[in-house]
């Protein structure tokens, strides 16, 4: 056998991280957001514990505003993996009917996602949560540990992170405190795509170009995924060949015009494109340092 190539190395490292976390946590959970990174993370978990089933549930912190295709894939993957799927919706947000159109992207994200996640972790008493974040996504992510400590209030303190040496992860924490663990820390966007192709991992078809009804608003192409989308005067959804580089709440996720309908074409387009994947997300544009601010408050 020849030396491992970089994808094999990344896979082995992620599996190592998943096993170490499970061996040391009391009550682990995997945050499952249905995007491509979650898909890869779930696939790695199935590899890490085979022939056992991954010994933890999947948790989807729902906002009720995801694309319909995402909900469909979520149900399918839960069935295929045989894992327990927990869906949590912030009851307060549900009661108030928080949505991105009336309340703005910042409030929508904070109440449904950040507060919802904290509530879910508290309610189930999880002491360790896997997330699919990568260090190449954003500047403050580049400095985060693989095993990232959170206070009992779920806060991240970037100036007081534990040193992380070799592959020796310190998982110790007190009651109420928890760890966020990122098995894909060292993967890049290209690695993720290439691995999805190599392993034939199922992903939401919104990543592939197709004719979809969209309107152009504030410089973003938004897909009209259901009848809740309030059209402004003069806006008429038009069918255009588009696809998505990242997936979130459909009113907050911009599509790109594209004809890339296969994985190699998507990868080709990504490599030749001159913008990063998070650019399609409204939330990161709010303020400079916005991701770091959200993360210290408990966002994933």
């Amino acid at each position: 056998m020849t030396a491992l190539n970089h994808l094999q190395r990344l896979e082995a490292e992620s599996i190592d991280i998943l096993r170490e976390a499970v061996a040391e946590a009391e009550r682990p959970v995997m945050l499952y957001s249905i995007g491509k990174d979650s898909a890869v993370m779930l696939h790695l978990a199935r590899k890490a514990f085979f022939p056992s089933r991954p010994p933890f549930p999947l948790l989807h912190v729902d906002t009720t505003w995801k694309f319909r295709a995402m909900y469909a894939l979520r149900e399918r993957m839960a069935r295929e993996s045989g894992m327990e799927l927990l869906v949590y919706r912030n009851p307060e947000a549900e009661r108030l009917g928080i949505n991105p159109f009336e309340h703005g992207s910042a409030t929508h994200t904070d109440v449904w996602k950040t507060q919802g996640l904290k509530q879910a972790l508290d309610r189930y008493g999880f002491d360790l949560a896997f997330g699919g974040a990568r260090r190449d996504e954003e500047k403050s992510r580049a400095k985060e540990r693989v095993f990232s400590f959170r206070t009992a209030q779920h806060r991240w303190d970037p100036k007081n992170q534990r040193p992380e040496l070799w592959r020796l992860y310190n998982t110790r924490h007190g009651p109420g405190e928890s760890l966020r663990v990122f098995p894909l820390s060292n993967w890049t966007e290209l690695d993720v795509w290439q691995y999805i192709r190599q392993e034939s991992i199922p992903i939401v078809d919104l990543y592939f170009a197709a004719e979809r009804p969209v309107v152009e608003r504030d410089g973003l192409l938004l897909m009209v995924d259901d009848e809740r989308f309030p059209l402004r005067d003069g806006e008429t959804p038009r069918l255009r060949s588009v696809r998505f580089r990242t997936l979130g709440c459909y009113p907050l996720t911009g599509a790109i015009e594209s004809h890339a309908d296969t994985l190699p074409k998507i990868i080709q387009e990504m490599l030749l494109a001159r913008t990063t994947e998070r650019q399609g997300r409204l939330i990161d544009r709010d303020v400079s340092g916005s991701m770091e601010k959200k993360k210290t408050e408990g966002y994933f």
Binding site: A142, N170, N186, L190, Q194, L271, L272, T276
Partner: protein, 636 residues
């Protein structure tokens, strides 16, 4: 358009196949403040086309707002991710960056130059194959340059690039460059770093970053990126014997029992003979199980699940080794320790050490010597402060499998964790096992503990009273001892009077001395328990970890922690010896409850609330507990 972009456009399949088979080089950059580390990394990202339009757009905006380069792009801002740092203009933590060229993929750890953040540099270096050490051509070698080189060599980095930066500011002087290179080679030779490549640079202007610069006609070596693409990557462990630390025992049902872990040395095939440490049992490998089917072979770096032909006991923390070349097994080592905690190392305190998948209790003796990182001199020291490194003896509470760090990073590197704060307070590299730990055995005596217990008619134990000064520990302990004596039990009471005047008369009341005092008391109590006695100790013993240390010295069930709980306000008012008054006036330093903390027990065996109970009733409860636990009988 460059060749990579052209290939992506014309033949994406071919590009992907090439990319898939690229190797991976992990390196660190280090240097002093303002040597231009962040600029160098930013430039590498820019030159390798790893920056995209929105990043460049943000960089352009940030450069105008925070930049130090006028209207030009300030590459340092790309790398300095956290807003706190942008405001201060410094890098405060390890940041990881990713880029690829046509030949290789790279992960860069950007590590800080500030002296107080040395722990972050060691962190970044622990996973690196190579170090890029930056020197400002105007300043030459600095204290930090030596420190970083020493730390890189300490964590086993054998390849260094000496990046002599800002050469444009010394008029591209060959003499300046050669002088710095010479001085550096002299220093590095003492550390055994054989592979050094010195490159004259201007990271800001891009000279010798990706291609030879016209400004340095006297330099004939590779550019920085060329060198990083070509340098050999090797790990001695790959060619060594099989090592598989077991992370997780895989038991989906009664029919299957597999051992999951990552190979950190050698390779393995079905049928290979293996030895499991620490048990020493042998077996042969049955299958190498993965979701993609059984493998004919697994190599170093792979995560796998093995089954064994025999039903032997294997658990997390054990190491599956090549039968003919197993790892060592020991519980006492010499190791080089880098201290990373805000609180200094407390020799004798019980910490946790994580080595491979094993976590064990450990104490670290006062350093044999500390290393002055500027001169490499060995200095005498009683402890290690934050960012200090030294050679220490490490004693574990059980034997673990290991290899010397120089042979295998994963089998010889460990972290030190504080039991109370849960912080990672140190990291270390094992040199060798001390012969003592393999040769000292307790003299097996014919009259042993069991024989003494039989004669005494009661079981031995430690009644550990803890609480604030004046809380009533000695009063209650005296009553309990009188009662036990009346019941015919053999007892001994250790308290301040008979310990501080003799056994511990050389100790004061600093945190370190308190730890040592409790350690001595624990050891004496252990011997007395071995002698069959019921030992009562009445000391403030304010630190949880020392009480845990004492608990660990005797067998399970022999240690009874009794928390004599009296509020500070009450003891301060009672103040039988006038000590609180003196402490409040500042005449007594390090007085528990006043200017030194008391860590109340979280789960004591007995909790005596003196506000609810008088000493006689407290003693009744304690005697009742000892009967219930079977240490004494009600009518001995």
């Amino acid at each position: 358009m460059d060749a990579q972009t052209a290939l992506i456009e014309s033949d994406i399949e071919c590009y992907l196949e090439l990319h898939r088979n690229k190797s991976l080089l992990r390196f660190i950059t280090c240097g002093s403040v303002d040597d231009g580390k962040s600029t160098l990394i930013g430039r590498l990202l820019y030159e390798s086309k790893s920056l995209l339009d929105d990043q460049l757009g943000a960089l352009d905006a940030d450069s105008r707002r925070y930049g130090t380069q006028g209207d030009a792009l300030d590459f340092a801002l790309l790398v300095d991710g956290l807003s706190a740092e942008r405001e201060q203009g410094i890098t405060i933590d390890v940041a990881y960056r990713f880029f690829a060229t046509g030949k290789r993929k790279f992960i860069v750890a950007d590590t800080p130059g500030h002296e107080q953040y040395t722990r972050n540099m060691v962190t970044g270096a622990s996973t690196a194959d190579l170090a890029v050490i930056l020197v400002d051509a105007r300043k030459g070698l600095l204290t930090q340059t030596r420190r970083h080189t020493f730390l890189a060599s300490l964590v086993g980095i054998r390849r260094v690039v000496l990046a002599v930066n800002k050469l444009d500011l010394v008029d591209w002087s060959h003499g300046v460059f050669a002088g710095i290179e010479r001085a550096y080679r002299e220093f590095a030779a003492q550390l055994g770093i054989a592979n050094i490549v010195a490159i004259p640079l201007s990271a800001l202007r891009g000279d010798n970053m990706t291609a030879p610069s016209a400004n340095t006609p006297w330099y004939h070596g590779p550019s920085l990126l060329q060198h990083l693409e070509q340098v050999e990557i090797d790990s001695p462990a790959e060619h060594g014997p099989l090592r598989l630390p077991v992370q997780w025992v895989n038991r989906p049902d009664h029919a299957f029992r597999g051992f999951s872990g990552r190979l950190v040395g050698g390779h393995v095939r079905p049928g290979d003979a293996v030895r499991v440490l620490p048990s020493g049992r042998t077996s042969t490998v049955g299958r190498i199980v993965t979701l993609d089917g059984d493998l004919p072979e697994a190599v170093s770096g792979q995560s796998v699940t093995l089954t064994l032909a025999d039903e032997i006991d294997v658990s997390r923390g054990d190491v599956i080794c090549a039968a003919g070349d197993p790892a060592g097994l020991a519980d006492q080592f010499e190791a080089h320790v880098v201290w990373m905690g805000e609180e200094p190392l407390l020799p004798g305190r019980s910490y946790l050490v994580k080595l491979g998948a094993a976590t064990v209790g450990a104490s670290i003796a006062a350093p044999k010597y500390l290393v002055d990182v500027n001169t490499l001199e060995h200095l005498a020291a009683k402890t290690l402060q934050l960012n200090e490194t030294g050679v220490c003896v490490l004693t574990l509470d059980r034997a673990v499998a290991f290899d010397p760090y120089a042979q295998n990073r994963d089998m010889g590197g460990f972290i030190v964790v504080d039991r109370l704060s849960n912080q990672t307070v140190g990291a270390g590299m094992l040199h060798f096992a001390l012969r003592r730990s393999q040769n000292i055995h307790w003299q097996a005596l014919e009259v042993d503990k069991t024989a003494r217990v039989r004669m005494n008619g009661h079981r031995p134990g430690v009644l550990w009273f803890t609480g604030l000064s004046g809380s009533g520990k000695s009063t209650i302990a005296n009553i309990v001892e009188r009662r036990l004596h009346a019941l015919g039990a053999r007892t001994y009471l250790l308290d301040g009077d008979n310990v501080r005047h003799g056994l511990s008369k050389d100790l004061g009341f600093t945190a370190a001395d308190r730890v040592e005092n409790i350690r001595r008391i624990g050891e004496v109590a252990r011997l007395m328990v071995d002698a069959g006695l019921i030992v009562l100790t009445a000391f403030i013993s304010p630190f949880r970890s020392e009480r845990e240390l004492a608990r660990g010295m005797v067998e399970d069930g022999e240690f009874v922690e009794i928390f004599v709980d009296t509020p500070l306000a009450v003891v301060e008012q009672r103040d039988p010896k006038g000590l609180y008054r003196k402490a409040r006036k500042g005449e007594l330093k390090n007085f528990t409850g006043i200017d030194s903390p008391y860590e109340a027990p979280e789960a004591p065996e007995l909790h005596v609330d003196t506000m609810q109970s008088d000493p006689e009733r407290a003693a009744d409860a304690i005697i009742g507990y000892l009967v219930q636990r079977g240490i004494i009988r009600a009518t001995n």
